[in-house]
Assembly symmetry: C2
């Protein structure tokens, strides 16, 4: 007995993705008429029949979104991603959608997990987080026509050829710009920036917001993400007699280090502003730029859901939402 | 045509739970012979046939554990539960099991979510967190024979008639006792306790560890969970001239408030020890009792998985694991 044709066979014959075949079967209204005809012809030619038992059971289930959860690595700022997962779960639940979480220690391992979940029919879409230059996940998902939205821009897409995709991100530059303007207004002209070493898309973006406000000669300090390295570099700058009225930081972790250095030097007049508005910054009374992860979650679901409220390959792949963060003053 | 008998019909006729019927069909080895015979007789009498299409598809899927994720409420200590979810996801993934998260704002709403997930066949077991006196979730799950393990003891089970269940918890009393002994050894005899108002199972348990070490006249302070209330109550005690060599606290949030009060009073000689070992405590250099959420996750999976590595109604419902926390000195 010949093997029954599969959705992959239909996709190959019609020259479309598996997702497009699935759309023709489930939500034909969103498929271009010419494409729909081609898929329907392939279905007829091959004698493809959707597995009705599977489909019947499948449609009893709610739509499920897969999202990766990093191994817990400690640190102050990881809480932002957790807040995003909380908000996504909350809002997905209101739409009777499910959120399935999976662990992976690298992008390649994450791709293996995504493959398992798709093969098992366990998820309908993915939300990926922490995009980076040359991210292999976006291409992999794009090639397979799997609906997904990224929390994070396609950093360096022009140079690396990363396919465009739907994303939601926080406008870090705008947040740091607001913090820098505030610092100049209340503390003085000498607003330093404490960031990570150059090359991280997120960090460079935040630095741009500071640079847009201060002059070319303003002091730029860098430290790896950690309270003690941040404290050391700020202490060194203060000891060297650098003029510093305020330090705007790329993260709350760096800001806590800066605050400790400032306090130890008896320079409590130096204003320190963080980024992420974590519980630690709140506890210490540090002002900080708030990422609004709840708005990010809303943006992700808005992109992922078509006009019918069902998951679709959204908006031909290049829609995005840039969330304006908010400066929280303390 | 008469309606085909269901697993519920078999359960009713045999006088057992749905889960026991499921065990007879899938893992008969764990069912007592007398019970197994009764179920098998009911299956034969009713002419029950498992839905083979459903079962075939079902067994292609991995086992899925449902776990509730609280709405994000800010705060310093919420991170412990997030760490537990991270660890559970990680370790479940290693066993090729899935973790599905859902949101709910109350125990009753959580029960509705659990019902939806069970009805849709979307999960095989639950992990519940934050158990409390008279918790309706444990009884609901117990009545239905749904496999579950709680992170949290059946607080007040004797008085409230809460059914016994499988649980993993952290030995808060032992952790605070270690912190109190350390404080007496390095700071002095006058070790105060800063806890929450009486009546929370967790808080009372932690207080017992302190009480076991200090005399009956030792100073006990209380504040609701929050940096500012904690700061105020410690500041007041110091201003009133109370003799305080150290403050052992029921949470890092309380400890940060205590630390701020101590610093503002120029009493940096007072040792402050927190509970939860959060990133905020680490950033501030506070010693703290570490809950080891990764060990809790291991304990939960050990109870949930039978000897075959499959999910079972574990150990006749009353096995438990008490994790000994660790004092982290800074």
């Amino acid at each position: 007995m010949p093997k029954a044709p599969t959705v992959e066979d239909v996709a190959r014959v019609a020259g479309v993705s598996r997702q497009t075949v699935s759309n023709v079967l489930n939500t034909p209204g969103i498929v271009k008429p010419a494409t729909r005809e081609r898929v329907e012809r392939a279905i007829a030619d091959l004698g493809y029949r959707p597995h009705t038992a599977a489909r019947a059971l499948r449609t009893r289930r709610s739509s499920t979104i897969g999202i990766h959860l990093d191994p817990y690595a400690g640190g102050i700022s990881g809480v932002v991603l957790d807040r995003f997962v909380h908000a996504l779960t909350d809002r997905a639940g209101e739409r009777r959608m499910r959120v399935l979480i999976y662990a992976a220690r690298s992008a390649d391992e994450e791709i293996e997990r995504m493959r398992d979940l798709l093969d098992g029919g366990e998820v309908d879409a993915f939300v990926i987080t922490g995009t980076f230059r040359g991210d292999p996940r976006t291409r992999w998902l794009d090639d397979r026509g799997v609906p997904f939205v990224a929390f994070g821009r396609p950093w360096g897409a022009e140079e690396t050829g990363t396919p465009d995709h739907c994303w939601v991100d926080v406008d870090g530059a705008a947040g740091v710009e607001a913090a820098t303007r505030h610092a100049r207004a209340v503390a003085g002209d000498a607003v330093a920036f404490l960031g990570w070493p150059a090359g991280s898309g997120t960090g460079d973006d935040r630095e741009r917001g500071w640079r847009a406000v201060v002059g070319a000669s303003a002091l730029r300090l860098t430290a790896p993400e950690g309270v003690q390295p941040a404290r050391a570099v700020v202490a060194e700058a203060l000891a060297a007699g650098a003029r510093i009225d305020a330090v705007v930081c790329a993260s709350d972790t760096l800001a806590i280090g800066a605050r400790l250095a400032v306090a130890a030097a008896g320079r409590d007049d130096v204003l320190v502003i963080g980024f992420d508005n974590t519980p630690a910054a709140e506890a210490l009374g540090l002002s900080s730029v708030e990422q609004l992860p709840e708005e990010v979650a809303d943006g992700v679901l808005a992109l992922l859901l078509g006009p019918t409220g069902n998951i679709v390959v959204p908006h031909e792949g290049d829609a995005h939402v840039l969330v304006e963060p908010r400066l929280i003053l303390r």
